[in-house]
């Protein structure tokens, strides 16, 4: 239950969202992995705020929890709704951005009608890197949020790219909810590139037969940043398939919590779920928490999970050494590669700029623009993409 508590930064009243990113199956309390609490500004709207999106979207979970969703709906000034007509291929990406520097709170819904194809881009960006290495706790006033719920009808194809890139003075809440009907296919790439305190929920309901989800999630957590992620996939249809690959770098005194749940529900005959996390640890004071869970209420299904935590394999390090890289240089390559990959897969200018700006802060300006310059994918200076 949310509770109003203190008064901060002049007139900004704060409240606590106590149960953000709660996984479908919880574990021992003392592990401190079941949720994250966020101190956020009290919404200016009073009483119950009706959702501004079509009613269908209120039934889509976004991984962050109902308390957080209600806060976003009550805080946001407006909602964005985009519909991709049946059987069409939308060439122009649907860009759903959130300016963290302005403390934006956005709520969006996307309906991808039967057989249609669309690319959806979430860009949550901001500056705000503190001077020095001292621990920093972003204030409630520095909170932004980007909530996006997507409904993919029968046979729809959704390409989703998400970039969260902001400085360590920012606190950000990001929620993605997906429903996939029969034969709908979703591929998602998540780049979590920075933020003082970032909570990311991702919930997919593979409700239809043969619906599929491929999620490739990458992150870097450094300095005293806190990243809290909740991936949850419900596999309800028959012969559904989900594949979650998560990889990241934990540096300095960064803290990361990763919950990954595959929920193979009754009736989902022939479904397969796979989750795997790889973490490269380069800091001495990091906190790394992982909660991989496979829930199963069906006989004829397959679920796998695995985690490789610690370092890159010795074979990989030897190969890189044979090409002239010391251990430290190989680790630097992995950091650079994370940003390069975000740049390569940015489908439009805002996500490209967000990735490059963050890369400039983390790996330096020269290295940040090296790949973009080499491959000729520098961001355009004019003609910014249309905001939905």
């Amino acid at each position: 239950m949310a509770s109003t508590s203190t008064c901060l930064e002049g007139t900004t009243k704060a409240m606590t969202l106590a149960h953000v990113n709660v996984p479908p199956a919880q574990t021992w309390n003392y592990l401190k992995i079941d949720q994250i609490a966020l101190s956020v500004p009290v919404p200016t709207s009073a009483g119950t705020v009706p959702t501004r999106l079509p009613r269908l979207f209120s039934r889509i979970g976004a991984g962050v929890g109902t308390e957080a969703v209600s806060w976003v709906e009550a805080t946001t000034g407006d909602s964005r709704y985009v519909e991709v007509p049946r059987g069409t291929v939308r060439e122009e990406p649907i860009v759903l951005s959130c300016d963290a520097d302005a403390g934006e709170v956005r709520d969006s819904g996307v309906m991808v009608r039967g057989g249609a194809t669309a690319t959806i881009v979430l860009v949550s960006h901001g500056s705000g890197d503190a001077e020095g290495d001292a621990p920093l706790s972003p204030t409630p006033a520095a909170t932004s949020a980007n909530l996006v719920r997507v409904y993919a009808e029968k046979g729809a194809t959704v390409h989703l790219v998400e970039v969260v890139a902001m400085g360590d003075e920012r606190q950000h809440l990001e929620g993605i909810g997906l429903v996939a009907e029969d034969g709908a296919r979703v591929d998602a790439r998540q780049y979590l590139l920075g933020g003082g305190r970032v909570a990311v929920g991702f919930e997919a309901d593979l409700a239809g037969d043969a619906a599929t989800l491929d999620l490739d999630s990458r992150y870097i957590v450094r300095h005293h940043e806190v990243l809290d992620v909740n991936h949850a996939v419900l596999q309800r249809g028959e012969r559904t398939r989900c594949d979650i690959q998560t990889s990241g770098i934990l540096a300095d005194a960064g803290q990361k919590t990763m919950r990954e749940t595959i929920d193979l529900r009754h009736g989902g005959h022939g479904s397969k779920g796979n989750e795997r996390e790889t973490v490269l640890v380069t800091g001495d004071d990091i906190v790394n928490r992982t909660l991989p869970v496979i829930l199963c209420d069906e006989d004829d299904v397959a679920g796998n999970h695995g985690a490789s935590i610690g370092s890159v394999s010795s074979e990989q390090m030897t190969y890189l050494a044979d090409r002239g890289l010391s251990d430290a240089e190989a680790e630097a390559l992995f950091a650079r590669a994370l940003f390069d990959d975000a740049v390569i897969h940015a489908p439009e200018q805002q996500s490209l700029s967000a990735a490059l700006d963050r890369a400039a802060n983390v790996v330096g300006d020269d290295m940040a623009h090296d790949l973009a310059s080499g491959l000729g994918i520098e961001p355009a200076s004019a003609d910014d993409p249309k905001e939905e």
Partner: protein
């Protein structure tokens, strides 16, 4: 004889619990092409990895001298920067690292190869064209999901970019179809032509040697270098196999040789 580039003297090495190489002496002159042959399990690949400094193997005696410097105790990354290149028989997959980022990083570390991103991109494009590689490979993760032939081409791409003084090619021809073998052979030729580097070819397949002028041939059996001679030895091995060399080693070690 060209000036000596690589000199291995009395080298014995192996894993923690198993000796593999025994008292190896081998020299490669600058710009020369040497071939190392031998039956499966002879220790040829191990020798390549020991020259490169692979920490899996421990040197129990002997020295490796490269370009006038004793590198026996040098880390692999330092040996690489000194000019030794080992092409892997089974190149390693490195998820999360785009090929471009990898190539750019390993080149920028070398002062003699440092250049602007645009010039580097141009150079990479030229070599990829020579190797009949699609440039879309640059944005794919290093070796992840690549076929055997594609991985070998990536090794050749690195060889031609890094321009090492010595390239050790560990069964670069294995698992390649005729077309891929032809392209990889062209890559090796280009290395010899453009970089004037020395080659130590570890191979079973003499076809990859057809386009090369081989200076010396070495035969390894059970971790021992048992023979060394001119290029004509390759034809002899092609016809007769390694039986005589295996019997010779057994006899020298006092083992009973079956008729």
């Amino acid at each position: 004889m060209a000036s000596e580039l690589l000199t291995i003297s009395g080298l014995s090495a192996g894993t923690e619990d198993k000796p593999i190489l025994h008292d190896i002496d081998l020299s490669v002159g600058a710009g020369e092409t040497h071939v190392l042959m031998g039956p499966n399990g002879a220790g040829k690949s191990t020798l390549g990895h020991v020259i490169m400094g692979d920490p899996v193997y421990k040197v129990s005696s002997g020295t490796v001298t490269f370009d006038g410097q004793d590198v026996t105790d040098l880390a692999p990354d330092r040996r690489s920067l000194a000019g030794i290149f080992l092409s892997y028989q089974a190149p390693v997959e490195v998820p999360g690292v785009p090929l471009y980022s990898f190539l750019r990083t390993i080149c920028q570390m070398r002062p003699e190869l440092k250049t602007t991103a645009r010039k580097f991109r141009q150079r990479v494009g030229q070599i990829m064209a020579e190797l009949d590689m699609d440039e879309s490979f640059l944005t794919r993760e290093l070796n992840v999901g690549f076929s055997g032939g594609e991985k070998k081409k990536v090794e050749m791409l690195q060889l031609l970019l890094l321009r090492p003084k010595l390239a050790i090619l560990d069964e670069t021809d294995s698992g390649l179809d005729v077309d891929a073998l032809s392209i990889v052979s062209k890559g090796i030729e280009a290395y010899r032509r453009d970089c004037d580097g020395a080659l130590l070819m570890i191979t079973h397949n003499t076809r990859i040697l057809e386009r090369l002028n081989v200076d010396r041939t070495h035969v390894m059996v059970r971790g021992h270098l048992v023979a060394e001679g001119p290029a004509s030895m390759i034809d002899d091995i092609d016809r007769n196999g390694f039986g005589a060399y295996e019997d010779g080693l057994a006899a020298s070690q006092g083992e009973k040789v079956e008729a």
